[in-house]
Point group: C2
Chain length 185, copies 2
Amino acid sequence: MAEGFTIWLTGLSGAGKSTIAALLERELRERGRRVEVLDGDVVRTHLSKGLGFSREDRDTNILRIGWVCEVLSRNDVIAISAAISPYRETRDQVRARVGRFVEVYVNCSLDTCIDRDVKGLYKRALTGELPSFTGVSDPYEPPLAPEIEVRTELEPVEASAARIVAYLEANGFLQAREDTILATR
Amino acid sequence: MAEGFTIWLTGLSGAGKSTIAALLERELRERGRRVEVLDGDVVRTHLSKGLGFSREDRDTNILRIGWVCEVLSRNDVIAISAAISPYRETRDQVRARVGRFVEVYVNCSLDTCIDRDVKGLYKRALTGELPSFTGVSDPYEPPLAPEIEVRTELEPVEASAARIVAYLEANGFLQAREDTILATR
């Protein structure tokens, strides 16, 4: 079988990870696949309550999400992680464990993320009210060789999602299909 | 679809949970099902490192396992939990979240578990070297209305596993089948 794999979205808060994850989820379900989105916030409730944002706690959180992705992937589910996952080495640890792993760099400049500030977090981070905030007071290490990079400030999120699907089709993760929801937009 | 569900084995350390889980896993895979065993020790490594054995930490651990069971079950996987899970209320919380939930009380007297002492833990618990040990210095609350109870000191584990499979067949979780591995022993 081996139908399962992991789509690992990484990028700054506000870059568009959750939105892209939701679009991918819909598209993949439409194709009859089993899909589970592991959103950073949801996971912090169920898996990592009590963990903070130190390097160690972030790594623990990411490795737990990675373990759930691994378990899902080996059971033919497509796991989509939408956590910031700022550290390269930790992402690579997850990659090594999961095996069928597609790292997607959701690239968006810090300035644009700050302008968007969907959750109002950057404002609080910039005043120092929120400490250890990725991109402001905590590092983000961009992937050096992601399977695919999308730039959400240069194209609509639907286009980014469609390019991820095209990558998955071109690389044997998905069967090619004409009637994708995303492509018809 | 709705093929997924959770088999929740609960009982003292040494009662036979892991052995039964392994037998069920083999039988269910043989039937072409997706199966994932969540063993207490494995989960403590990947999901709950750092948690201890206070009531609160035990509950956190069990709720995390429960969440993973929930995620697997809704993706058509049969999740088998083999953790002691000593508290009734916590098991019921997991039951409420998972929905398709089969609680199996793996019943074995404390004396027999102490006699077996497969991992040498009871010896250390009885001398006080291991504190907060379920059955010795920490409570175990047996289920009041489990879907099925098996008594591993009265029958071989293969018979217990076969009775669980029979329950699953009789209650619409599995299709009935003549050529089960377990029944031919």
